[in-house]
């Protein structure tokens, strides 16, 4: 049984070691703010290692911050080497970024945490943890924690039941109602490790696909378009839904597509280290892949 205190201690030791031995330039983990809320932390000095915490409040997927660490700090230098603390869901995103050549494997030191679940802002277990198939990160350089007391849960797609029960017309009405509340803040896109286009297809100056209006037609295209751009790539970390200030059930959109992709291609993003992204694979004649 993994003890939170022990894990926190081990995590701090690991961070201290990595920074003092200059194995990495930065450790990305979690800290507690003055209000008692857990938040992402960026450590550059081994003396800061004791800021790190670990526990069920560590909900953020830190992998997305690797996109900010691609460029060197100064011209002529190498890009930074970064250590990142990951939960199983977060670690799946790493496999995507490695396969898509966004981050070099050698530049990332992965501190994998065995995870028994995180909680939402209300203190209740996050929905995604109830269907977590991993519990142990799928990629890591060091693994902290013992095999979890909670077994991986089977995923029965029961979260999609509410959508499945609707007719097409009802689904459209449901989603238009959700998008009406959307304020097009792009938090869902910004938090997502899979969304890293320097200029988003839906935020182009030439308004090629949608214009900048914060109206239902544009938001509709943005959300559906983003879901399709993540097809075969979304690792179901549910961060998009967590960060949405208007409570849009975005994981429903992504999960619907995850299930379709699994049914069609037997593929579930991020579970394994892949050489290429799923959509780039050509399979033998007659096979979906």
């Amino acid at each position: 049984m993994s003890d939170i205190e022990t894990l926190t201690h081990q995590l701090r030791e690991e961070a201290r070691r990595l920074l003092s031995e200059k194995r990495v330039d930065c450790v990305m983990g979690y800290e507690v703010g003055p209000r008692g809320r857990i938040r992402p932390a960026f450590l550059y000095d081994p003396a800061e290692a004791d800021h790190l915490v670990w526990g069920p409040g560590c909900v953020h997927n830190l992998v997305t911050y690797l996109h900010n660490k691609k460029k060197p700090r100064r011209r002529g230098e190498e890009p930074p080497r970064v250590a990142v603390v990951v939960k199983p869901c977060d670690s799946r995103a790493l496999n995507i970024l490695f396969a898509e050549r966004q981050v070099e494997r050698e530049r990332v030191f992965v501190i994998g945490m065995v995870c028994e679940g995180v909680v939402g802002p209300d203190g209740r277990p996050a929905a995604k943890c109830g269907r977590c198939t991993d519990r142990t990160p799928v990629v890591y350089d060091v693994l902290l924690g013992n095999p979890p007391s909670v077994e991986p849960a089977p995923d029965d797609w029961s979260d999609l039941a509410r959508i499945e029960a609707m007719t097409s017309a009802e689904r459209l009405a449901f989603w238009l109602r959700q998008f009406d509340r959307c304020i097009r803040c792009y938090a869902c896109r910004q938090v997502c490790p899979g969304c890293y286009c320097p200029t988003c297809a839906f935020e182009r100056d030439d308004s090629l696909w949608v214009d900048m209006g914060i109206e239902v037609p544009q938001k509709y295209v943005f959300h559906l378009g983003r879901a399709f751009h993540l097809a075969g790539r979304c690792v179901e970390c549910d961060e998009c839904e967590r960060v949405c200030p208007m409570g849009l059930p975005l994981s429903l959109l992504n999960r619907c597509l995850v299930r379709e992709i699994e049914a069609l291609y037997g593929h579930r993003a991020g579970r394994q280290e892949a050489l290429t992204p799923m959509l780039f694979e050509l399979g033998p004649e007659g096979s979906p892949i």
Binding site: P34, P40, Y65, Q190, R242, P245
Partner: protein
């Protein structure tokens, strides 16, 4: 000061909903938002802080500012200025304060923004006092308060024995109350139950002095996702973007709309110029600009600080970036 009962207040609201566009706090799928209402029944009278500010009714998130019709080589332009009167009911004092902050630039700096000016003229602000300070609120520290009537046309305060006290503040406020049936006052305006601890507000020079301290801003800003939540929920933020869109091409006539829409200095490409250079390439530099604008640039340029202490950004930031934490850090130096 006037007094009325709940029934008479609702009758007045129903009357307003007929005469004008009535905007009030409404429950929308579990969220409290200022929205257009058709009757008093939809109006929430017990609520905390609507999740978005009231600015969208004077500075819409998306606004068509020009309609253009092009036929061959001929172009006709038309400004779009809706005529209907608008009553915003249930405006929290911080939201009204936010409009006063935007006024300092949009109205009082020449040339005035024609659209905002028009919306201001056609809008009456009927505020409802807060009976306590909500999570994140620090309006008192910025010169506002839960019962501050300063920037409203009318301030409504729920009474200790039921009913509502109404204080007209401006001639517009007097006029909008004309349709209200008053009653014999009973009780008093409910006092504010709880105040949040004060937050120090450092002078502009102190912020300016910290501009070059990168580690300071990285500590607060490196976890910023560069989304736009804080900017969009803020009552005082006013940056916007402009573009055209072709609405229709029919019978040789092209109909075009020139839009303006909310924008945010936190977003990654905000300052990217056509040639590709971006002077604020990192998330923490953009966040620094956001805070500097609120506590240094805006007051230095236009008078008021660009923050009213509503606390929305604090509760809605997904990575716990807390403006009061930054303010305390600045004041401590």
């Amino acid at each position: 000061m006037r007094f009325t009962t709940l029934d008479r207040l609702k009758a007045w609201l129903d009357h307003l909903a007929q005469e004008a566009d009535l905007i009030a706090p409404r429950e929308v799928d579990g969220h409290v938002l200022y929205r257009r209402v058709a009757s008093a029944d939809e109006v929430l009278l017990e609520y905390e802080r609507p999740e978005l500010s009231a600015k969208e009714f004077l500075f819409p998130a998306t606004e068509v500012i020009l309609r253009v019709e092009q036929k061959g080589k001929d172009v006709a332009l038309e400004e779009v200025l809706p005529e209907r009167q608008q009553v915003l009911f249930g405006v929290r004092p911080c939201d009204a304060h936010g409009l006063a902050v935007i006024d300092a630039l949009f109205l009082h700096q020449d040339p005035p923004d024609r659209y905002y000016q028009h919306h201001r003229e056609r809008t009456v602000l009927v505020g409802v006092a807060c009976e306590r300070m909500w999570e994140g609120c620090f309006c008192v520290s910025i010169g506002g308060g839960p019962t501050d009537a300063t920037h409203l046309d009318v301030l409504v305060r729920p009474g200790t024995e039921g009913g509502f006290f109404l204080q007209p503040v401006t001639p517009k406020g007097v006029a909008v109350l004309e349709g209200l049936e008053v009653a014999e006052p009973r009780g008093e305006p409910r006092p504010v139950e709880e105040y949040n601890p004060p937050v120090p507000v450092a002078a502009s020079e102190k912020w300016r002095a910290l501009f070059e301290e990168h580690r300071f801003w990285m500590r607060h800003g490196e976890r910023c996702l560069s989304c736009r939540i804080c900017t969009y929920v803020c009552p005082a933020c006013r940056c916007f973007d402009l573009t055209d869109r072709v609405v229709d091409v029919r019978s040789g006539v092209t109909r075009i709309e020139r839009l303006r829409a909310w924008d945010a200095c936190t977003s990654p490409n905000y300052r990217r110029v056509a040639g590709g250079h971006n002077p604020r390439p990192t998330n923490w530099e953009r966040l620094r600009n956001r805070f500097m604008c609120k506590f240094c640039y805006y007051p230095d340029d236009f008078g008021p600080r660009g923050c009213v202490g509503c606390g929305r950004c604090i509760v809605s930031c997904p990575v716990d970036i807390d403006i009061t934490e930054v303010m305390q850090d600045v004041a401590r130096r």
